[in-house]
C-alpha cells in the first residue's frame, strides 16, 4: 500500500463538501482510503492514528487543507490526487446548486442529485403517471403519493417496474420506510430485521411503530397503494416487495399488511410465501384467523425475530385484554344514564376498518361512512347513528381540505358534537404521529378532549415513537392529563371502547 498526499494553503470548504470529496476519492479504483481535512493538530493526530499522516503535513497550519490517499500502488494514489480538483469543484457546485435552485423537472433534479435512486411524486393524478414513467425509464424507484391515477396506468407502470427490478409504491401510497428513511407520512423507527409490505398506510405505521417500541426494528417497509392487491392489478408490487424482502439479507422476518386481497392475488401470495424460508406473518384485515389485529401481527413478528413462538405473543395480548375488560367496567359505572354508544372518529382508514372488525357484535349495531364487514352504511357521514365509526379521510371530508392527520379542526368539531349527543358513551380517536402529521397534536386535542371528558369517556390510541417529531410519550402524557384514556395501539383502544359499551 502507498500513502501520498498534498497540503493546500488557505483552501476553505464546508464539512460536507470535504466528507463528500473524501468519499468520492476513496471510491476510485485502487484506493483503499482517503481523507480531506483541515490541518489542525487534532486532525493530524487522527491522521497519524489512521496511518495517513505524512511528513509534509508537519508544517501545515490550522487553515491548510490536508489531503491523504492510501492506495494499492503509487499510480492509483496519484490518479486520485489528480482527480481532487475536479471532485472539489463538483462538490462545491453541488452544494451551491442545491442551495440556489429549485428544479422544475425530473431531469433538473437529477442534475442536482445525480446519485438519486428514488423519485417521490406528489402531483395531480392526470400528470403523475407520465412523470412516474420518466422516473422508471431513468432507472429510479418511484413512490407515487398521487391518487387519481388510472388503473391502466398503474398496471403499466408496475409491469415495467418489475421488468426493470424497480419498485412503484402507489398510487395513493402515503407511507414507506426505505433504508431507515421515513417517506411521506411515516414514523422514525429503529432499524432492524423485520421487513414489511403493506397495502395499507396507517397499517404500516401501526406495525412499524409497535415493532420499534418493542425494541425490534424495521429493515424496509414497502408501501404498495391500496389497489395493488385487488384483482385487476393482481398484487404486482405486493409480490415484488415480498420477493425483495425474501432476498434481502437484513430481513429475517416478513410482515404483510393489507385488507383482504382478491382470492386470485391471495393464491399468488401464498404460493410465494410457501417457498420463502423466512417466517412470514400475514395480517389481512377482516380475513379472520390469527393474527386478527395489526397489534397482534406486530407482536408476532417481534416474537419470531427473537426466535420465540408467535403464539406466545398472542397469549400475552389476550391476557392484557382481560385487564382491559375489568378496567372497562369501572369506566362504564360512572357514565350518565342513557349513554350507550361508541363514536369512533378516525384519521386513518385502516384503523377505521380494524375498528369495524373488532366492534362486530356490539349491542345496537354498527354504522360507518366506509362500511366493511357487518357494518351498515351511514345515511349521512355528518350524523352518527347508534355505534358509529367514521373515516374522516374519506373524500366527503377531504375535498378542498388538508387530510385529518394534519388538520384536526373538522375532527375537533365532531368530538364536541358527539360529546353533546346524550347517547354517546365513548368517543374513540386515533392519534397518528410522524412526519407529515400534525406538528402539535396534544395542544390541538387537549382542550376539546378536556371538555368532552366531562360527559363521556374519551379513548385514544397514539401511533408513534419517542423519536417522532411530536414525541409519542409526551403526546400520551398530555392527552391523559386532558382526561383521555390512552392505549398504545388501535386494537387495544377499540377493545376498551367496546368493553365499556358492553358493560353499560
Amino acid at each position: 500500500m502507498t500513502v501520498i498526499g498534498q497540503v493546500r494553503k488557505g483552501a476553505y470548504y464546508d464539512s460536507v463538501t470535504l466528507m463528500r470529496v473524501g468519499k468520492e476519492l476513496a471510491a476510485l479504483p485502487g484506493v483503499a482510503d482517503a481523507s480531506v481535512v483541515m490541518g489542525t493538530r487534532a486532525n493530524q493526530a487522527i491522521l497519524k492514528t489512521s496511518g495517513l499522516l505524512l511528513p509534509e503535513f508537519g508544517k501545515a497550519t490550522d487553515t491548510d487543507l490536508l489531503i491523504a490517499v492510501r492506495a494499492k500502488d503509487a499510480r492509483a494514489a496519484q490518479a486520485a490526487l489528480n482527480a481532487l480538483d475536479a471532485q472539489l469543484k463538483k462538490a462545491t457546485k453541488k452544494s451551491a446548486a442545491a442551495e440556489e435552485a429549485a428544479p422544475a423537472t425530473l431531469d433538473g433534479a437529477l442534475r442536482l442529485v445525480p446519485g438519486a435512486n428514488l423519485a417521490m411524486i406528489s402531483i395531480a393524478g392526470r400528470y403523475a403517471a407520465a412523470e412516474a414513467m420518466k422516473a422508471l425509464e431513468r432507472g429510479l424507484h418511484v413512490m407515487l403519493f398521487s391518487d387519481n391515477v388510472s388503473l391502466e396506468d398503474e398496471i403499466r407502470l408496475k409491469t415495467l417496474a418489475v421488468r426493470k427490478g424497480l419498485l412503484v409504491m402507489g398510487p395513493d401510497c402515503g407511507t414507506a420506510i426505505i433504508n431507515g428513511v421515513p417517506l411521506a407520512f411515516a414514523n422514525v423507527v429503529r432499524r432492524g430485521r423485520i421487513g414489511v409490505v403493506a397495502a395499507a398506510g396507517t397499517g404500516l405505521q401501526e406495525v412499524t411503530t409497535i415493532i420499534s417500541n418493542e425494541g425490534e426494528g424495521i429493515s424496509q417497509a414497502i408501501g404498495t397503494g391500496g389497489r395493488d392487491v385487488k384483482k385487476d392489478v393482481g398484487g404486482i408490487m405486493f409480490l415484488a416487495g415480498l420477493e425483495a424482502l425474501a432476498a434481502d439479507r437484513q430481513t429475517e422476518v416478513i410482515l404483510l399488511v393489507s385488507k383482504p386481497p382478491h382470492p386470485s392475488v391471495l393464491a399468488k401470495i401464498e404460493k410465494v410465501v410457501r417457498r420463502i424460508r423466512k417466517p412470514v406473518v400475514s395480517m389481512f384485515i377482516g380475513a379472520g384467523g390469527i393474527p386478527n389485529t395489526l397489534e397482534q401481527a406486530a407482536f408476532m413478528a417481534v416474537a419470531l425475530a427473537r426466535g420465540e413462538e408467535g403464539g406466545a405473543a398472542v397469549v400475552r395480548l389476550v391476557s392484557r385484554d382481560a385487564h382491559l375488560a375489568k378496567e372497562a367496567r369501572r369506566k362504564a359505572a360512572r357514565l350518565g344514564k342513557g349513554r350507550k354508544y361508541v363514536r369512533g372518529l378516525f384519521s386513518g382508514g385502516t384503523f377505521c376498518a380494524e375498528a369495524q372488525i373488532l366492534f362486530g357484535g356490539l349491542p345496537g349495531g354498527l354504522y360507518s361512512n366506509a362500511p366493511t364487514g357487518t357494518a351498515k352504511p351511514l345515511r349521512s357521514s355528518l350524523k352518527s347513528v347508534r355505534n358509529t365509526v367514521v373515516d374522516l379521510g374519506e373524500d366527503e371530508f377531504t375535498v378542498g381540505r388538508p387530510h385529518p392527520m394534519i388538520d384536526y379542526s373538522l375532527r375537533n368539531q365532531r368530538i364536541a358534537q358527539e360529546a353533546a349527543d346524550p347517547e354517546t358513551a365513548v368517543i374513540l380517536l386515533d392519534v397518528v404521529l410522524g412526519y407529515g402529521s400534525n406538528g402539535d397534536p396534544a395542544a390541538e386535542l387537549a382542550p376539546v378532549i378536556r371538555a368532552a371528558a366531562r360527559k363521556v369517556r374519551v379513548v385514544a390510541s397514539v401511533t408513534g415513537t419517542d423519536a417522532d417529531p411530536q414525541n409519542a410519550p409526551a403526546v400520551k402524557t398530555a392527552l391523559e392529563k386532558a382526561g383521555a384514556i390512552v392505549l398504545p395501539s388501535n386494537a387495544a383502544a377499540c377493545r376498551l371502547a367496546a368493553e365499556i359499551v358492553k358493560a353499560l
Partner: protein
C-alpha cells in the same frame, strides 16, 4: 446590498476577504472577524445581515463609523440562568432523530456511529468520545479542539456549545476562561466563535436555542432545535450536541 442590521461586536476597521460561502462571506483583519450574511442566517454579534444573498465581489470591506451609526444594531439578549430539563430532553430528541449523520450527535446515540466508516472517521470518533468524556477539563477540550471536517472543525463547534451552556448555568468565570484558552488554535473563525461563546454571545439560531432551554415551552425548544440543525452543514448539530451535554452534566 441593503444592510439590515449589524452585530454589537462588529468594530470599525478594514477587513480582508477570508472565505466565501453561498450565504455568508467572511472578512478578517488578522484578529477579528466580520461576516456578511444572508437574511435567513439572521443577526449575530459579528454579522452584517443583508437582504437576499451576500453578493460581494470585492476583497476588502471597510466598516465605517457611519455604517455603524446607520444600521440597527442587533444585541445578544441574556436569558435568565436556568435550564429546563424537559426542554433540554426535547432538544436532544430532535438532535438524535434529525442531525446530519456525520455530526457529533453520535455522542447522544451510539447507533449513529455506524455512519463513520473510514479509518479517519473511526479514529475521529474515538478521539471525540474520549474528549467528551472529560467535558469540563482542559485535557478534554484539547482533545476536541480542531477535530473534524470543515472550516470550523466539529470539535470547535462542540466546544462553543459547551461554553454557551456553561455561561447559561453561571459556571465560574475562571473555568470558562481556562477551557476557552485550551480551545484556541490557529483558525480565526473558530477562535472568534469561541470568544463569543466564552462571553455568552451567540448568533441567531443558537441564541434562540439557549433562550428556549432557559424557558418553559417544549414546542419552542423543539422549533429552536430544528432551526439550529439548519446552521452550516454539521456546525449547528455539533454546537447543539456540546450544549446539551454541558447543560445537563453536573459541574464539578
Amino acid at each position: 446590498m441593503i444592510l439590515l442590521s449589524i452585530g454589537d461586536e462588529v468594530r470599525e476597521g478594514t477587513y480582508r476577504l477570508h472565505s466565501r460561502f453561498h450565504r455568508a462571506v467572511n472578512f478578517a483583519d488578522g484578529e477579528r472577524l466580520v461576516s456578511v450574511v444572508a437574511e435567513d442566517i439572521g443577526p449575530g454579534p459579528l454579522n452584517l445581515v443583508v437582504r437576499g444573498r451576500p453578493r460581494i465581489s470585492r476583497r476588502v470591506l471597510r466598516v465605517t463609523r457611519r455604517m455603524l451609526a446607520a444600521a440597527p444594531i442587533s444585541r445578544t439578549p441574556r436569558p435568565r440562568a436556568r435550564v429546563s430539563l424537559d426542554c433540554l430532553a426535547e432538544v436532544e430528541r430532535v438532535l438524535v432523530s434529525g442531525a446530519h449523520p456525520r455530526s457529533l450527535a453520535f455522542l447522544l446515540d451510539d447507533r449513529r456511529r455506524a455512519s463513520f466508516t473510514s479509518a479517519f472517521d473511526r479514529a475521529f470518533v474515538r478521539r471525540v468520545s474520549a474528549g467528551a468524556a472529560r467535558l469540563f477539563r482542559v485535557d478534554g477540550v484539547r482533545m476536541l479542539a480542531g477535530c473534524g471536517y470543515g472550516l470550523t472543525p466539529s470539535g470547535d463547534d462542540f466546544i462553543a456549545g459547551v461554553l454557551a451552556a456553561l455561561n447559561l448555568r453561571n459556571a465560574p468565570r475562571r473555568r470558562v476562561e481556562r477551557l476557552y484558552a485550551a480551545a484556541r488554535g490557529g483558525n480565526l473563525l473558530s477562535n472568534e466563535f469561541l470568544r463569543l461563546a466564552r462571553d455568552g454571545k451567540t448568533s441567531g439560531a443558537m441564541q434562540s436555542l439557549v433562550s428556549a432551554v432557559a424557558g418553559e415551552s417544549i414546542p419552542a425548544a423543539r422549533a429552536a432545535a430544528r432551526k439550529v440543525l439548519s446552521v452550516g452543514e454539521t456546525s449547528g448539530a455539533d454546537w447543539a450536541t456540546g450544549f446539551v451535554l454541558a447543560a445537563r452534566k453536573a459541574i464539578p
